[in-house]
Symmetry: C2
Subunit: 79 residues, 2 copies
């Protein structure tokens, strides 16, 4: 089974990388571009689990390793 | 309008960061975890465009700045 975990910064957390991309897009001449926020995505292959169990394990992986839950949100999607 | 651009490494391109995460998850005791691939996600606010035009502009942004199309694929989603 394949899963996709998306980790994004929480609202209100500064995102200098996103700001730099905003500046880059403006410099390239793209008008009407508002805020840009950058996040991470993890494509993970899992075996020997039900979808239910996979979801629980992925949440634990996020809490322990994939996301910094002080400043980041995560979303789990079984593909 | 909001859009999400997901940039992932093409198949066959080495992903040392993904490998490190695989090792980390194994070290934390998660069994049955196969390949892990890491990518990037960009949440972009756009204004003054139709969905069609936004999609075209986002593709151009990916080609010019957001993705290295030699080694990366990108997917555009209007939210």
């Amino acid at each position: 089974m394949k899963a996709r975990v998306t980790v994004t910064l929480k609202n209100g957390v500064l995102d200098p990388q996103g700001k730099a991309i905003e500046g880059g897009l403006a410099a390239l001449g793209f008008a009407g571009v508002g805020h840009v926020r950058q996040g991470k995505v993890f494509d993970i292959e899992l075996s020997g689990r039900s979808a239910e169990q996979a979801r629980a394990d992925l949440a634990e992986m996020c809490e322990k390793l994939l996301a910094n839950t002080v400043i980041e949100n995560y979303a789990i999607e079984i593909v």
